[in-house]
Symmetry: C2
Subunit: 273 residues, 2 copies
């Protein structure tokens, strides 16, 4: 018997574990959905690599999720969202949600001074994607972007409450704060780990916009619009697939997910997709 499309899983992928911050919000807003999470932990990080390589990896990640018969793919990675969405949407006949559009829309709405800061990986910032999309909503908005390449390794090492991390964050953020921004987009799914510290450094006059929450809202409303919400009245299953099972995976994942990994974790060879 063919499975009803509503009851198929949602696919979520990221270069590694950062996308778990998106998964966490999706679980909160859509507890009945079945989910397949793929993290490309063998090739993480993406954000310092070339656009050509990012595109190739994004195609393989999506092919894997497609092979798992998902009803929708959530690109829980700002680097892929900034560099490969046209390619993915052209090549797969399935709805995609990326993290860029929900963030950019939300930031455009909440800014009063029309001065928005964005931090992200070098690949996200160099793509100019946030700036282009925000200016499409409103030409008068000013966008100040900054690549903050050390935040991914610091997050993966769990160095959040740490003197060196604080110095690095202050060094990065002062460049944006002096531009008189009132809204700051955390343009990388790893960055919510630093959200408290970033709020502290930025002060009360800066609204901090976190990828995960807005993205999960978009997933929910798109599933509603498409009539694809899961109709089972029970808690969904979560399955994790990784291209490498890194040392201490469950500990690292717990840091991002803010709960224990409950589902099954399997390893796949992403180079075959």
């Amino acid at each position: 018997m063919k499975r009803k499309i509503q009851n198929k899983p949602i696919g979520i992928f990221d270069s590694g574990v950062g996308g778990l911050t998106v998964l966490k919000e999706v679980l909160k807003q859509l507890p009945n959905e079945n989910i397949i999470y793929f993290g490309d932990t063998a090739r993480v990080p993406y954000g310092s690599k070339s656009v050509e390589t990012i595109k190739k990896f994004a195609m393989q990640d999506s092919s894997f999720l497609k092979s798992m018969d998902v009803k929708m793919i959530v690109v829980a990675c700002n680097t892929v969202s900034s560099n490969a969405m046209n390619l993915l949407r052209e090549n797969f006949d399935i709805p995609f949600v990326d993290v860029l559009l929900p963030n950019a829309m939300y930031a455009s709405q909440v800014t009063r001074k029309k001065r928005i800061g964005v931090i992200g990986t070098p690949a996200t910032i160099e793509s100019g994607a946030y700036s282009k999309i925000i200016k499409k909503f409103n030409k008068s908005h000013k966008v100040f972007s900054l690549a903050t390449p050390l935040l991914v390794p610091l997050a993966e090492e769990g160095l959040v409450e740490n003197k060196a991390t604080e110095i690095i964050l202050r060094d990065y953020l002062k460049k944006l704060i002096k531009k008189d921004i009132d809204t700051l987009i955390l343009g990388c799914t790893h960055y919510p780990l630093f959200e408290r510290k970033i709020r502290e450094i930025s002060g009360d006059n800066v609204q901090v916009v976190n990828s995960a929450r807005q993205t999960a809202r978009t997933v929910k409303s798109m599933l509603e619009d498409l009539g694809m919400l899961n109709s089972d009245n029970k808690k969904g299953d979560i399955r994790f697939f990784l291209s490498d099972i890194p040392r201490n995976f469950r500990k690292i994942a717990q840091r991002f997910l803010k709960q224990n990994i409950a589902g099954k974790v399997s390893k796949i060879d992403i180079e075959n997709y």
Copy 2:
């Protein structure tokens, strides 16, 4: 006409650009050799990944160099040297030089207190390879190992003379210094970038052993022993192959190589090997 084995190139590989510190020393000691350098820049870093994945990548890296008809393979990566040498030597009929053995031997010889510190990636340190090999030379030597995972991203970002880097280095090193070591092995080919700072923090009583120099000496003496030194009396060619051409590659490479990249840089798809 078949090329004489002496005039074939030496192959050198690393997970990324760290191995360029080894290349630099090889060029200095063996200026007539032709060299093929492969950096797996699409999948860097290796040191935080699982042993299984490191082995798979090391096999592919060696297969690529073998396909380029090299006379010897230099594993300019401590993570691979600590985790995959048996596998490589079993699978390829070609001499290998790794970075572990030359470093461990040298440190064993220079220590007076018989107390040696080692810093490296998580995969290098967890393998226990340095400790095992040093104790094989001399059972009474004490080895104190410490994983220092942030030094690779800091080196790749060029954050050498930086306040945050200094705090991170001091935090790491104080754990080893209080063990009263008199010798410190930089067990990662990225770490020579911090050598000056590490010497300053460790003080005059600690000898700092750098992977690159000892490894290049081993390459030279092994080629001499095997009668495989290049017999051409002219400057050798260098060719670079990478699995991804990262943004600012030449700038980053210049930082490690301490000179401009003179050879041709090509991209290959390492997943095909």
